[in-house]
């Protein structure tokens, strides 16, 4: 039995604490600006597009498609696949792909969020849908 990979616990801060509180309940949150209507990730209090402070938390579907990926084969902790997922809601997010054959990932492939535990709040990852 291989030990599960150990991930670092998020430090968190007042701006992002709600994201991590929701993650503990298995919810993947994004921020949306009620002034310009745009969603963004990672979450900020001020909208990076229109600079309005009227941003609100929104639970995302957790579904998206692979924008790009790369399988890191030379790593002291073993191979891992990094990439970006374009969420159904629009924003693209950096992540790792897990719980699948890393050799068979494809751009455009449908994926869904899955949380992995840390010593603090769990971290979002993506796996084939």
């Amino acid at each position: 039995m291989v030990d599960a990979k150990k991930y670092p616990a998020p430090v968190t801060n007042p701006e992002t604490a709600a994201f991590w509180d929701a993650a503990k309940e298995g919810k993947f949150m994004i921020k949306r600006c009620t002034a310009c209507g745009e969603a963004h990730y990672f979450p900020r209090s001020i909208c990076p597009f229109c600079y309005s402070d009227k941003t609100v938390w929104e639970q995302a579907s957790g579904e998206g498609t692979i924008y790009t990926w790369s399988l890191m084969r030379k790593s002291p902790t073993g191979p891992y696949a990094i990439g970006y997922v374009t969420l159904k809601e629009g924003p693209s997010v950096q992540t790792n792909f897990v719980d699948c054959d890393l050799e068979t990932l494809k751009i455009g492939q449908k994926v869904k969020v899955v949380f992995k535990p840390t010593d603090g709040a769990p971290l979002p990852f993506f796996t084939p849908a």
């Binding site: 991930y7 670092p8 998020p10 430090v11 968190t12 801060n13 992002t16 991590w20 745009e38 963004h40 990730y41 990672f42 900020r44 990076p48 597009f49 924008y67 790009t68 990926w69 790369s70 399988l71 890191m72 084969r73 030379k74 790593s75 891992y80 990094i82 990439g83 970006y84 374009t86 969420l87 629009g90 924003p91 693209s92 997010v93 950096q94 992540t95 790792n96 751009i107 840390t118 971290l123």
Partner: protein
Amino acid sequence: MTIKGKAYIAGIYEHPTRHAPDKSTAQLHAEVAKGAIEDAGLSKDDVDGYFCAGDAPGGAWPMVDYLGLNTRKLRHVDSTETGGCSYIIHLGHAAEAIAAGKCSIALITLAGKPRTGAMPPRAAGAEADFESAYGATTHNAYGMCAMRHMHDYGTTSEQLAWIKVAASHHAQYNPHAMLKDVVTVEDVLNSPMISDPLHRMDCCVVSDGGGALIVTTPEIAKSLKRPLVKLIGHGEAMKGPRGGKDLDLTYSAGIWSGPRAFEEAGITPQDIKYASIYDSFTITVLMQLEDLGFCKKGEGGKFVADGNLISGVGKLPFNTDGGGLCSNHPVNRGGMTKIIEAVRQLRGEAHPKVQVKNCDLAIAHGTGGLLGVRHAASTAILERV
């Protein structure tokens, strides 16, 4: 206001070392500073501007003190930190300061020892909790760019390999190069996969070392005995995922820094005789050639193939010292050596086997940070007078 023609590069020095376990990082800074000052025919007490980045131990004020610069005279400092392209940005900032009369002899230094020991980690950005666990490294961040470029434009590993092949053709003449063997496309494709789709030979070397520049006024440059190389255009830019909207990893911030520099210089990419292009990875070169306008977006693969970047063979000789892919990559930061080889070419001091004939216009371009995550870019256009 423009910096066109307001500043000259009067001194250059590239440290010959590629592995320096017996030296301190500050010592390497001092050795390259001394080398560039002597190359210009000046004294350290003439320096009145100092520029350094995150590799300088303690930052600007400890370095100014350690280097023994003349603090009665020193009146301008700049420690802008934009990773590997910091020194190309410093060159532009030095020209701005010189044009504004804030200094007249600027020293820029880079040095460090990543081959001897791991570099200290950078301070965390606001994104840390949302990214650091995913293990973005140079290899996989550039791998992600290459993967998407291949998807969108049909770029191939063979085409990327040609960039390494060209660099190796040049490195065979550089006695200081870490990798002097000429390699083939097959050699690159047969080297181990590091982070898909980049092979080991798509990656640059890791080396200790450094380099330095002296930038000065036209009047002082003309009073010295070195060939005259002036800065005629400069650009800088930054790019990141910007909240994840419309993510496109197939172009870099060079798409903005390049046109800014060409516009200031009043020339086009077709006028360039020699190009120093940051080659942290083969894909870095391909994307930047497109972004700078040497070919259309998506046609970089075709442009670099069949030896088009080899001096004396192709249309755009690049990185004639062997670049980061073969010669060195001091402190994991390629911007300084890009400027130095461009100056050598304009002076006619490159190795005779790779010297570009009638080289009167050159470009030095680089990026800093991670192309696949967030990064800076800077472009300098240089002219032989």
